[in-house]
Symmetry: C2
Subunit: 419 residues, 2 copies
């Protein structure tokens, strides 16, 4: 077998375990150095390929690569950049071929979510449509958990663990104070159009008195009167109310809660945040003292609290991606299959990329409780295995010790290209 | 020695290690059961004493008490309630004596910050001023780190570790994305009038390129033009800018940034948050895409990320408080003395409560860098030992397993008392 070089890049919003997938890809490439030559990483995703900004991964030590497994963020830089259609923007694809050819690259690993899968699918067509022999493998990643076919998306389990842990901890704080101080606590969860992350907040509690007492999903239209009634009932019954609200919560007419036309004194749109918006409504309608929290990026970078299952799955899809390449596959995505619920067992299978790209997986209706304010047992059964196990990073001087790569650039061979 | 009963209560905003102090108090009382009879806890701080809402700590198993050491929040309930002056509000103090007498209580342990130290000091005067033989010992706690005499306040070290870790993690996320997306990240830290917690954010970075690139202190008047210039320079130099901002940041004239007279479309005061306010200014003045985070209660309840040094100190002040009582002391507070910097060594001494109550410890001027946007080496030397070591709680089913006490109420002997 002739040796060809490989390209790896990270795309879209990063997570606390996307580097664990990178680690899986890189370590497996190194194991198969008889088949895969140099591995290049794209600086800032596909942009690195288009602009010939390549990083020589071979310059990184085995220790640095191993440390990627416990390092959050995207070590090679990520991007929000979608390739246009191959028919209308042929020049982009010709450029990709030019760069790949110049560096003898025939394996393409792209690590991202739904939008990135679309980019990967387009690149996978280079061989059939444009005659350049390339195999493109997608490595799944998204905290939003909205990729189809796969049981879950690497990155999600760790956010779920962070949200469930954080709400459990903060709820103990609020419970301590509610007699004379804060009565309502609102915590905002990421997840855009899908309620997966908000739902995971419910893992920290249970039925009845255990907080969070309410979860607000993007899938359920926001009805201010109903929500306020439930908040009021909860405070009256338990003395306090803890709420997890998804950033994507909307009114019946589709407008986002956090973008309800409010402007500040200078005429600017109100500064984001569903949590402060909802907390303000509660103060206005019910008069309760509140606190709110918007963890934002903290939730998707909290590698110190990663789910061990999530880290293992993220690594495994990286490993399998390289194996797929060696087996001659193209346009596939290693995906996770849930083989057994209890004890939890899972395996990896190769999903066709054409069925993954541009598809969103929404929460099944029967995962949301009938009253719309919590999760069902079916949802709990689905979520719980994904947050199992801890995988603490090493600590130095009291802080997590994260990988710092050298990121040595590869000398450019081609003329510059503007995006 | 005749056996008398004891009273313990938690006061003010709670922390992730105040229960570790409770654990120290309770375990030490149990060790000295020849001298201390029943230990009662006040439900919701001093309010529990005034309303005769006592919890029989004896009903809790040794295992539950041991688990308090790793449980955040205030297990017995806390309060924001300050006793009035003994001369003008004699009836409150007579009520306290009535309750203590009814339950044979002669030891009073109060676990809180500066305001609570004032309450404890007032209670300590019961014996001298009103003839009731009581010993009052204050157990220090406050995340704000503003108690005098003690090297640090139990609770602070763990928040410092949380903030430093979180900003390091989130900064890796922002660095990954800054080529095509978020360029500025603003994270808000608690701490009211003192910049201690914001300062600890700088531990995650260093000089030059290592984030956070800027820390904004309440001690330094906010100068919008200077701040914007620094943000702009930082983005131009490093591609991104990570900022830790204290909730207490103010303009030259003393008004808080987060309360600058802005109102929303309904005429309400702008919903809090220095971070979104500052992020909005950056967008307005410089046009950079931003994200912001307000962890709020998450930072002071994140027991999963506690500092081992902090937990040990919190426990030790609880232990020493009981020893003080047995030694016949009154109106003291076990405080922490830094005996050696490297290796870090500390011990406990008994500080006079009169010198603690109602005093605030501010950051020394030479802890803030000359440009006002970072910390000095002296500050780093002070802070670093306080975040050392990890002390993870046990995990069950993927989540921290926190103590759940029975909180059995003691039958009331007296007529009700209204606050």
């Amino acid at each position: 077998m002739t040796r060809y070089n490989a390209f790896y890049a990270q795309s879209g919003g990063v997570s606390s375990v996307i580097n664990a997938s990178a680690c899986g890809v890189i370590e497996t490439c190194r194991k198969h150095s008889d088949k895969i030559g140099t591995l290049y990483a794209g600086r800032n995703g596909i942009i690195g390929a288009l602009t010939e900004n390549l990083i020589d991964v071979g310059e990184e030590s085995d220790e640095s690569i191993a440390a990627l497994r416990h390092t959050p963020g995207g070590a090679f830089g990520s991007c929000r950049y979608k390739l246009k259609d191959i028919d209308t923007h042929r020049v982009q694809y010709e450029r990709l071929i030019e760069v790949f050819q110049a560096h003898n690259i025939r394996y393409f690993f792209y690590n991202g979510g739904g939008d990135s899968a679309d980019t990967c699918l387009k690149v996978s067509q280079l061989s059939e449509r444009m005659g350049y022999p390339l195999q493109a493998i997608h490595v799944p990643k998204t905290i939003d958990n909205d990729l189809p076919l796969t049981d879950c998306s690497p990155g999600f389990g760790s956010v779920a663990k962070y949200i469930a842990t954080s709400v459990r901890e903060a709820a103990l704080d609020v419970l301590s104070m509610c007699a004379t101080s804060t009565k309502v606590f609102v915590m905002e969860a990421m997840g855009r159009h899908a309620g997966w992350i908000a739902a995971s907040g419910a893992l920290g509690g249970g039925e009845g008195s255990a907080p969070p007492h309410m979860v607000l999903f993007p899938e359920i239209a926001f009805d201010r009167r109903r929500v306020m009634r439930k908040v009021d009932e909860t405070v009256k019954q338990y003395g306090y109310c803890v709420i997890v609200v998804s950033e994507g919560v909307r009114y019946e007419d589709g407008t986002f809660l956090a973008d309800a036309g409010n402007t500040d004194a200078f005429g600017h749109r109100q500064l984001g945040g569903v949590a402060p918006t909802l907390a303000g409504m509660i103060k206005q309608d019910l008069g309760y003292k509140y606190h709110w929290s918007v963890p934002d990026y903290l939730q998707r970078s909290a590698r110190h609290l990663a789910s061990k299952v999530d880290v293992e799955q993220a690594y495994a899809v990286g490993v399998r991606a390289v194996e797929c390449a060696i087996e001659g596959k193209n346009a596939v995505m290693p995906a996770i299959r849930r083989d057994n619920q209890s004890p939890f067992e899972w395996s990896i299978f190769d999903a066709p990329l054409s069925e993954v790209a541009n598809q969103e997986k929404f929460m099944p209706e029967d995962y949301i409780r009938e009253d719309g304010f919590g999760i069902t047992q079916a949802c709990r059964d689905y979520l719980e295995p994904l947050i199992q196990g801890e995988d603490e990073p090493p600590y130095v001087n009291g802080l997590p010790d994260y990988a710092q790569l050298k990121l040595v650039g590869v000398p450019q061979k081609l003329a510059p290209f503007s995006l």
